[in-house]
């Protein structure tokens, strides 16, 4: 009889390696962003977007944790854009984001009503 269970378990990435099967971030989108970053970027090897899928995951986790620290300091339970800006301001490796988060603050007004929603 066909070992269908084994095949499908591998496809769904069952067990410990569950996360390395389906990627958390779409590789095609990562590749598109890489290509757009500079006219000098012409060819990208297969593994480069893969490295980024993990690196971005770690980056998002770190930025989120640091932002949440700011939320806690403000004795709040909702993570706001200002918390992200504070995390960027207080972390050296995030200096490249300073302009981005301040551009955001200038363009948009954070929806404060989210805090008061029932």
């Amino acid at each position: 009889m066909r070992q269908a269970g084994t095949y499908s378990r591998i496809l769904s990435g069952g067990g410990v390696s569950g996360r390395t099967g389906p990627h958390l971030l779409p590789l095609a989108r990562i590749k598109k962003i890489m290509k757009k970053s500079s006219v000098d970027v012409k060819m990208i090897s297969g593994e480069a977007p893969l490295v980024f899928s993990k690196a971005c995951e770690l980056f998002i986790e770190e930025l989120t944790k640091r932002s949440w620290d700011m939320t806690i300091q403000g004795k709040r339970k909702t993570l706001h854009k200002e918390d992200v800006a504070s995390a960027v301001a207080t972390t050296d490796v995030f200096d490249f984001l300073i302009e981005l988060v301040h551009r955001n603050a200038a363009d948009h007004v954070d929806d404060v009503s989210e805090d008061h929603a029932p």
Binding site: L24, I33, A48, K54
Partner: protein, 117 residues
């Protein structure tokens, strides 16, 4: 509007990763999620630019995984490298298992065809 979203990482995926490191009762404002979506996208551009500069200096046309790892270290993200190396190894193993499972199933299919003949 759809064209704009093509330039960013999908906000749903970003939100899922954020939730993993927050307590279950935490709330995230829509604007905070979008800000982090933009930051993560900028992160890719920033690191790729550094890697691309290195390739140019070395007269290489293709940006590869090692270049990205190098750029991460150069820009202060070297604490990510251990996790990335582990992830790459697991992924290669996953791909090997999947490839051999495909071969096993297709050869089983061939055997079944032979039996019914």
């Amino acid at each position: 509007m759809g064209d704009e979203h093509d330039k960013l990482l999908p906000v749903a995926n970003v939100g899922r990763i954020m939730k993993r490191v927050l307590p279950p009762t935490a709330k995230i404002s829509k604007e905070a999620k979008e800000t982090i979506q933009e930051c993560a996208t900028e992160f890719i551009s920033f690191v790729t630019g550094e890697a691309s500069d290195k390739c140019q200096k070395e007269n290489r046309k293709t940006v590869n995984g090692d270049d990205i790892c190098w750029a991460l270290g150069s820009l202060g993200f070297d604490d990510y490298s251990q996790a990335i190396v582990r992830y790459l190894h697991k992924h290669r193993e996953f791909e090997r298992e999947r490839a051999s499972a495909k071969i096993a199933v297709s050869s089983q299919n061939n055997n079944i065809e032979e039996e019914t003949n």
